[in-house]
């Protein structure tokens, strides 16, 4: 009897979570794959016999859709500008906070971390107000130093940069903590030995600190890159993709086609293209990481 229960026990423990993951993560992948070859829309939702198999036409159509192509361009802009900025800022701040080693610097850790736990909708609302061209606080600050007003969310390029600034502000915290944990893992002896050998602080930073942070940097790069590829809430709330779709990201494009235009099949095709892009980016990252590991051996 006892044997019987303990044999069943692990399945009982894991099954609720596993069932939910199956239903809401694994099965959906299969469903998404299938519906990306159909023309399912609101009509099909009500009556499944109205769903037609359309082959690759969703994919053909989406790859010539100017809005989709624009959203790919915007997303690349976010990745290319955003990822290095996040890494540089969070690493820089982590190094500076780690350098201090006292209570005041502990306080800074708290300050820089706070934005990353706050609600994205609420902060987007706050930043929309800060960015307001006529009575926003940022343009007021600029006017104090005689800089003419910046069209934060009105100019196509500036709008993208403004969204990146907001997302950067939110992203620093978590990544800084990861870098800090890694920094504290570097043995102090390395620095002592280096300064005995006459290495100055800058040499120590570039010869010891940054190489020792390789894994943390790798981790932050991958997660940040995937995060920017899925950039959604900020453009959705602040600009709704505008002006003229200049801030529409791929994720926002998918959301809009799926839930505002109810073109489920079309949106699913878009989401699969995004998925493949994420997989490719991750694989390339792993390849680079492995190569640089081999070189260092």
């Amino acid at each position: 009897m006892r044997n019987f229960t303990s044999k069943r026990a692990p399945y009982l423990f894991i099954s609720p979570a596993l069932l939910l993951l199956m239903l809401f993560s694994l099965i959906p992948i299969v469903v998404a794959f299938f519906i990306s070859f159909t023309d399912i829309s609101l009509v099909g939702l009500a009556d499944w016999s109205q769903i037609n198999f359309v082959g690759l036409s969703n994919y053909k159509e989406i790859l010539t859709d100017p809005v989709f192509l624009k959203s790919i361009g915007n997303t690349l802009f976010y990745v290319v500008i955003g990822v290095p900025l996040v890494i540089a800022c969070s690493l820089g701040i982590a190094v500076m906070i780690n350098f201090g080693e006292n209570k005041i610097f502990q306080f800074f850790r708290l300050i820089f971390y706070t934005p990353s736990i706050t609600n994205v909708v609420a902060v987007a609302v706050v930043w929309s107000y800060l960015y307001n061209p006529s009575f926003g606080f940022l343009n007021y600050l600029l006017s104090l130093i005689n800089v003419s007003p910046v069209p934060w969310l009105q100019d196509p390029t500036m709008a993208k940069i403004s969204l990146i600034i907001l997302a950067l502000w939110r992203a620093i915290g978590t990544n800084m903590i990861i870098f800090l944990a890694a920094l504290q893992g570097i043995p102090k002896e390395y620095y002592e030995a280096a300064s005995l050998d006459g290495a100055n602080r800058r040499q120590q930073l570039f010869q010891i600190t940054i190489p020792m942070l390789k894994f943390a940097t790798f981790f932050v790069t991958i997660t940040t890159m995937i995060g920017w590829l899925q950039f959604f809430e900020e453009p959705f709330i602040m600009t709704n993709g505008g002006p003229l779709d200049s801030t529409t990201s791929v994720a926002l494009f998918i959301y809009r086609n799926g839930f505002q235009f109810s073109k489920f099949g079309y949106a699913a095709a878009g989401s699969f293209i995004l998925f493949i892009a994420i997989i490719i980016v991750t694989l390339i990252q792993f390849r680079i990481q492995r190569k640089s590991d081999e070189e260092s051996i």
Binding site: F13, L23, F24, I35, I40, T118, A182, L274
Partner: protein, 276 residues
């Protein structure tokens, strides 16, 4: 030696100043939000803007509850928070199952769990909506809560932590005739307090902030969460910034308070998760 000490001190000052300036920009949006939420509507529209409110008013906060359904949004958000703590227990159970038992298919199932971490939300968003629609759960609380109830990362962290619990402890309890279920509640859960604390806080923050699923699933205002309500407010009252700032303050301040109280656990949590 003396000069290098001096050098260290000056560079500490320089670093301190850079961090102060950076820190100022980090907190600036929060300060501006709180100050603006206490201003009157007329004062908000002034140019140049006043920094400190000329007269403090709580009218904006009152309006959130009187003219809008923020009480309903708050109730829904709290329901989601409660449900997600239920999900936390499911995650802990799964973590325990993977950590302390050997069973057929264990590795494959665990890899499947890990694989779900790689799947971007945008891919599952539409099919999950279709699945919930087929189950008749659109525009219900269940439909809002279920998709985010369990998470692979939490299961992974629970498993990592629970693997370190000694097997002798469990065997001793089994010899005493404790059931597997009792072992989980009376031994595993109390010992796992550190990881439960971290996960509990993260779960609270996640649930309090939940936005996308409520937005997709709720057609009806009676199921809106605070985030969805705030987004609605921003759309409908685009120029009433005082009200918007009050709504944002109402959402952000509880999170900051929870964070300040438990920050030690959260910041340690990154070490528990083995990202060192």
């Amino acid at each position: 030696m003396n000069t290098s000490l001096k050098q260290t001190r000056t560079s500490k000052w320089i670093v301190g100043i850079i961090l102060t300036v950076g820190g100022f920009f980090m907190v600036l949006p929060f300060i501006w939000m709180i100050l603006s939420s206490l201003k009157t509507d007329a004062e908000i529209m002034q140019f140049p803007p006043t920094i400190w409110p000329q007269e403090f008013t709580l009218a904006n906060f009152k309006e959130l509850f009187l003219a809008f359904n923020f009480a309903v949004y708050l109730k829904n958000t709290l329901i989601i928070v409660l449900c997600s703590f239920g999900g936390l227990i499911l995650n802990a159970m799964a973590g325990y199952g993977f950590a302390k038992y050997n069973f057929k298919g264990k590795n494959i199932l665990f890899y499947l769990v890990l694989a779900t971490m790689m799947i971007p939300g945008q891919v599952t968003m539409i099919p999950v909506y279709l699945i919930l629609n087929a189950m008749g759960l659109t525009n219900t609380m269940a439909g809002i809560v279920l998709p985010g109830l369990v998470g692979a990362f939490a299961i992974f962290l629970f498993r990592q932590f629970m693997s370190t619990i000694s097997n002798e402890l469990l065997e001793a309890a089994r010899l005493d005739g404790a059931s597997e279920w009792k072992i989980f509640w009376k031994i595993i859960m109390p010992v796992s307090r550190p990881v439960i604390a971290v996960q509990g806080i993260l779960t609270f923050i996640g649930a309090w902030n939940s936005f996308l699923w409520p937005l997709i699933m709720a057609n009806d205002e009676k199921y809106y969460t605070l985030s969805v309500g705030l987004q609605l407010l921003k759309g409908q009252y685009a120029s009433n910034y005082a009200l918007q700032m009050a709504g944002s303050t109402f959402m952000i301040i509880p999170i900051i308070i929870v964070f300040m109280i438990f920050q030690k656990y959260i910041l340690q949590g990154f070490n528990v998760s083995g990202l060192k």
